[in-house]
Subunit: 218 residues, 2 copies
DNA sequence: TCTTTTCATTTTGTATTCATAATTCAAGAT
DNA sequence: ATCTTGAATTATGAATACAAAATGAAAAGA
């Protein structure tokens, strides 16, 4: 049992940030909807103070828009935002790939590889939701292996803003096949610990993802 | 005159975020110091509520650390943080360079070039503070020319975390000379609108800056 | 009928209050 | 003397209160 870490109860506003962020990303709080302050307070059993603190934080992250004297709205997912965010995510993932090749443990590498094989099986089985889960795991594992908390923080922020687009547009089967092919190259680069190549592949992968989203959303 | 944007008085917490961030970056609020909540409230003439909202936002940005039931402290500038942040800033500036080459107006390009010439003059004159100001302007102008608000937002956040290091370590004259040389190459790439080259130069410039900081801080 | 105006209601931003946890400091124990 | 102990004080987190602004609905005017 760990007796060295000073035990610290998370404050209400922190929990609220986490839960609201999740609700927004999952679409439980819909884009452009007004944030029902009173209702949330009642449901969550907290007063307005910590809830409003959480909203300020989420506004700073771009998930919520504050309108003076008119409360908060869930921010919309616009094409412009996606077009701005994806290139940034791309270079961050690219960097993560480089760093991961340099600092990942062998165990981490083999975990990423294993998750890839899972993912390929889900693709064969046509199980989209398991595929997406595996895909998220892979990107998260890569990010963790990069050993750079600052990078991870900004990546997480951007991901949360962009994740919601998945709810708006189902990618085509042909794009799915393409993405899988790209991942076959990616996993090869991971196994070879080829940082520059992995970086380039990830950047290209993200840019293709954006192009596919664009097509699906117009 | 702009008549489309609905005029909106900034809320107290927003103003506080701005002012506190500035105070932290400029060193008026020193790293590791406790945030004097009561004192700030009195000086700024606001109640605790908006101040605490601002602190939550700054904590989310990493400029402040919240300790449960023990208030807030200004976060320390650690070598680990700089080592994590600089590579991220480097890829963001690299991306900004690429994008700027593609989307900057001729006027923006010539402004960046002009500011470079100013900066070189300040270097000749040995005027460090004017040099730094011009340097900041150049990076800001480049970022603006990239036309990507998401990129700009994350760049600003990271810059604020890292700016403070400048107060801790004066770079050597030899590094200054080096940096100027690097900028001579950078401005050439800007004039030529050579995106890939500018991107590579900026990334290298940032990595060298980190190395210089490392040396100066040990 | 369709606007415009008025006024009650609700919502919002900020201030204030309150309960609890941390800190301080003096008194007693070692 | 130094180290504990515990009550008094202060600071903090969260709830509540309050004033100002926005919203909505009914009444007055076109």
């Amino acid at each position: 049992m760990n007796l060295s870490t000073p035990l610290t109860r998370p404050s209400l506003h922190e929990e609220l940030v986490t839960r609201l962020r999740q609700a927004i990303v999952e679409g439980a709080l819909e884009p452009d909807a007004k944030v029902p302050e009173r209702e949330l307070c009642e449901n969550l059993g907290v007063s307005r103070t910590p809830l409003r603190e959480a909203l300020k934080v989420l506004a700073n992250e771009g998930l919520v828009v504050l309108q003076s004297n008119r409360g908060a709205r869930i921010s919309k997912v616009t094409m412009e935002e996606l077009e701005d965010a994806f290139p940034v995510i791309a270079v961050l993932e690219g960097l993560a790939g480089e760093l991961a090749c340099a600092s990942a443990t062998d165990k981490e590498i083999s975990h990423i590889v294993a998750r890839h094989h899972d993912m390929f099986r889900y693709y064969e089985a046509g199980d989209r939701s398991a595929y997406f889960q595996a895909n998220r795991d892979i990107h998260a594992a890569l990010m963790a292996a990069a050993r750079n908390p600052v990078l991870a923080q900004h990546y997480a922020m951007l991901s949360s803003r962009v994740e919601r687009a998945r709810l708006l547009a189902n990618v085509s089967d042909s794009r799915w096949a393409e993405a899988v092919e790209e991942h076959r190259e990616i996993v090869k680069a991971v196994e070879a610990r080829d940082g520059p190549r992995l970086s380039a592949l990830l950047r290209a992968h993200l840019n293709n993802k954006l192009a596919a989203l664009k097509k699906a959303l117009t």
